[in-house]
């Protein structure tokens, strides 16, 4: 099976390529990118005027399977990923049962093989039962395909357990992903602590509760030599702490979400539960600092924290609604429109944050279009204008704060392992 993408602008930051080239794929691998490649029997896709990138990887999604299939499944979540321009997703372990043993890893791998539109990289729990007490069997889960470990929304509160996790993970050279939240300090907070929450009478979730946890993790990573990955950094101070740690050669990486980059806590003003997530939307100066982190290299990846919930679950009083927003089908367009078109970061930097950036964190041999690489490709149309229509999502979740937004730039073609899984050219 041969596929030739003709006439596109190939942007592959991992090999510093940004020029008009044809791209030939064969048997699930990249053959090469070059000028004037002849079809020579290959199926040809015309991508003139479009941007051809390595397949995008979202390293933070919730597929909700097993156990919460009314919210999302491997099938619906990966279809959403394909529609949103992602060729791979890493899924968090807060399922029912939680993903803390090999049997769940195997279940996910099997489901992904039979029902997945894109590649699924499972993330296992750091601790048994996601309880923060005893380490889970990382080796066993890793053998079955787990790429990283995280206790996700119930972060490891014990510094001793976190120390052990960072030490133990060195055996396999895998990252420990931490949702940084000092839950005692959050104390039931549901919105960024500040004037908006105060005016609305909502309990505040202070920035400091993230930053204290971030600093603890960075110091532990420095002390143990383990690799800590900070999930969904939401505050300016978090970016400062990671920047300083990197300067000290600490093995630390971090991701930010599109919603934290472009929305502030003002988005919850009408008690809109579709703008309620954890960590919460912050202030405008935090958005600016996160974007600065993208630009200066402090941030390693953009990830969605795609967290689908049923409409009935979100259609309740603000404080009672579950945290989380979907992101797979809006992330790329949001980033193209709000970051690239507006000049905050160049296109190649955005592609890096969605490809080789997360691939390096997860030690995946992906994220590039070099000869021999897996034939995962995302094609963008920088001029395509789309309107976010939640009712048309492939995801079961409709919980987006971006409904109705008009965006310039969109993913239009997704190829996984040399096979077209989404084509909206």
């Amino acid at each position: 099976m041969r596929l030739l993408l003709r006439g596109g602008r190939v942007v592959d930051p991992a090999s510093s390529v940004d020029e008009r080239l044809d791209l030939l794929l064969e048997d699930g691998r990249v053959v090469r990118a070059d000028r004037g490649l002849a079809p020579d029997g290959a199926e040809t896709l015309d991508v003139h005027g479009l941007v051809v990138c390595p397949g995008f990887l979202d390293m933070h999604v919730h597929l909700r399977e097993p156990g919460q299939e009314w919210k999302e499944t491997v099938e619906s979540g990966t279809r959403a990923a394909a529609a949103g321009g992602f060729t791979g997703v890493a899924c968090m372990p807060n399922t029912e049962p939680v993903h803390d043993t090999r049997s769940v890893t195997e279940y996910l791998v099997t489901r992904a093989r039979s029902h997945g539109a894109v590649t699924v990289h499972p993330i296992g729990c750091v601790t048994k039962g996601q309880l923060g007490e005893e380490l889970a069997e990382m080796h066993d889960m890793r053998e079955a395909g787990a790429r990283a470990f995280s206790d996700d929304g119930r972060p490891v509160s014990s510094s001793l357990v976190m120390r052990r996790a960072l030490e133990y993970s060195r055996i396999f050279d895998v990252p420990i992903i931490d949702h940084c939240e000092d839950a005692v300090l959050v104390d039931g907070g549901v919105a960024n602590e500040g004037v908006v929450a105060t005016r609305m009478g909502l309990r505040g979730w202070p920035s400091i509760a993230e930053e204290i946890a971030v600093q603890r993790d960075l110091l532990l990573a420095e002390y143990t030599g383990g690799h800590v990955h900070i999930a969904h950094a939401s505050t300016g101070r978090t970016i400062d702490l990671v920047r300083e740690a990197k300067r000290r050669q600490v093995r630390a990486t971090c991701e930010v979400t599109p919603h934290h980059l472009v929305l502030t806590d003002e988005a919850i003003a009408e008690y809109d539960t579709n703008a309620k997530m954890n960590p919460p939307l912050r202030a405008a100066e935090d958005c600016r600092a996160l974007i600065q982190g993208l630009a200066d290299g402090t941030v390693d990846a953009i990830a969605t924290d795609h967290a689908p919930h049923h409409t009935d679950e979100k259609c309740v009083e603000f404080a009672l609604a579950p945290f989380g927003v979907v992101g797979l089908e809006t992330a790329v367009a949001i980033c193209l429109d709000r970051l690239v078109q507006r000049g905050a970061i160049p296109l190649a930097r955005l592609v890096e944050l969605l490809t080789i950036g997360p691939a390096r964190i997860l030690r995946l041999d992906r994220g590039t279009l070099r000869p021999g690489a897996v034939a995962d490709v995302t094609v963008l149309d920088l001029e395509r204008t789309t309107t976010v229509r939640p009712e048309q999502f492939q995801s079961k979740g409709r919980n987006t704060p971006f409904g109705g937004w008009e965006l310039r730039g969109a993913p239009v073609l997704t190829i996984v392992g040399g096979r077209v899984v989404h084509d909206a050219r």
């Binding site: 004037v195 929450a197 005016r199 009478g201 909502l202 008690y271 259609c315 009083e317 603000f318 404080a319």
Partner: protein, 312 residues
């Protein structure tokens, strides 16, 4: 002039003119409460559901009385006797209530934003009778009404609000309303009960009670809840009273003709001393009286009635 919204969700977003319209209308309706036959036919045939998900005596009775004095039919609905306690969602409960075609839904709820949520999903007029730590607009209106009666104005008056600002919907609505009408408001409480960003809501913030009370024309004490002590905001009611209780001695720092207010229910000897609560400067019971007239005015105006002066 009429109110712009069909709902009264909060003071937030209301103009000074709208607030004054309600206060003026209340002034003209207050007289009904002093008649021998305390009833007018204005809202005859209108149905009001009083949907109180959180316990309340004063506010619920006050609304009910206001409704009855305007000849509306009132239906009281509280969770202990409802399917709400059986796990029905707020939306389903509200939809069921709405199927009975009420004209007004007066809601008291423990969650901030619950009335706004209902306003998005119901077609009747929603009146916020207190939502979590967010707003209690009719309380602020009756407080303003009471202050205006005593001081003749609100502009440039010095108002001190003392107590648990963090958890108080009364404080928020009062800060917004008094600020909108040009009063000079200071909120005061222990730093553990002063929310971040409060100073950006057009008020001064201090943890020193003497500073707050100095020269004040109005002193408003807020109810302190024992649960706050358990959450670690202060060590004991005794210590709270020592630091933040409005006492006769502290009141001497205020203007000589200062009035003392409290939204009730009071903890005597904690946030306010009995001597002050019962003293000559206290207008606490007048607040209750005025509450009925203010709620009548709100119902009257939301029903789309033209202001009384204009009608007369």
């Amino acid at each position: 002039m009429r109110l712009r919204s069909q709902h009264l969700l909060g003071i937030d977003g209301m103009s000074a003119e709208e607030i004054e319209l309600i206060l003026d209308t209340a002034e003209s309706l207050a007289e009904i409460g002093r008649r021998e036959i305390k009833k007018v036919p204005t809202l005859r045939g209108k149905t009001v559901v009083n949907f109180f998900v959180e316990p309340s005596t004063r506010t619920r009775s006050s609304f009910e009385l206001a409704e009855k004095r305007l000849s509306a039919d009132a239906l009281n609905f509280s969770p202990s006797m409802s399917s709400f306690a059986k796990g029905e969602t707020l939306l389903d409960t509200a939809r069921n209530l709405e199927s009975m075609a009420p004209d007004f839904l007066v809601i008291r709820h423990g969650q901030a934003g619950a009335p706004h949520f209902l306003a998005r999903h119901c077609s009747c007029s929603i009146i916020n009778a207190g939502d979590g730590a967010h707003e209690h607009p009719t309380q602020a209106l009756l407080d303003a009404f009471t202050i205006r009666r005593h001081k003749g104005r609100l502009r440039s008056l010095r108002v001190a609000i003392v107590g648990d600002i963090l958890n108080s919907r009364v404080a928020r609505s009062n800060v917004l309303l008094l600020g909108q009408l040009g009063a000079d408001v200071t909120v005061c409480g222990p730093p553990t009960l002063l929310p971040k960003g409060m100073e950006r809501l057009a008020c001064r913030v201090t943890h020193r009670i003497d500073e707050a009370l100095e020269g004040a024309d109005v002193v408003m004490a807020l109810r302190i809840q024992v649960e706050r002590m358990r959450s670690g905001a202060f060590p004991s009611l005794r210590e709270y009273a020592a630091l933040y209780g409005v006492t006769g001695e502290r009141l001497r720092g205020a203007a000589p003709d200062a009035i003392v207010m409290h939204p009730g229910p009071m903890n005597r000897g904690v946030e306010i001393s009995g001597e002050v609560a019962d003293g000559a400067q206290s207008v606490i019971l007048e607040q209750v009286t005025n509450g009925v007239a203010v709620r009548m005015a709100v119902l009257y105006l939301l029903a789309g009635e033209v202001p009384r002066e204009a009608a007369a």
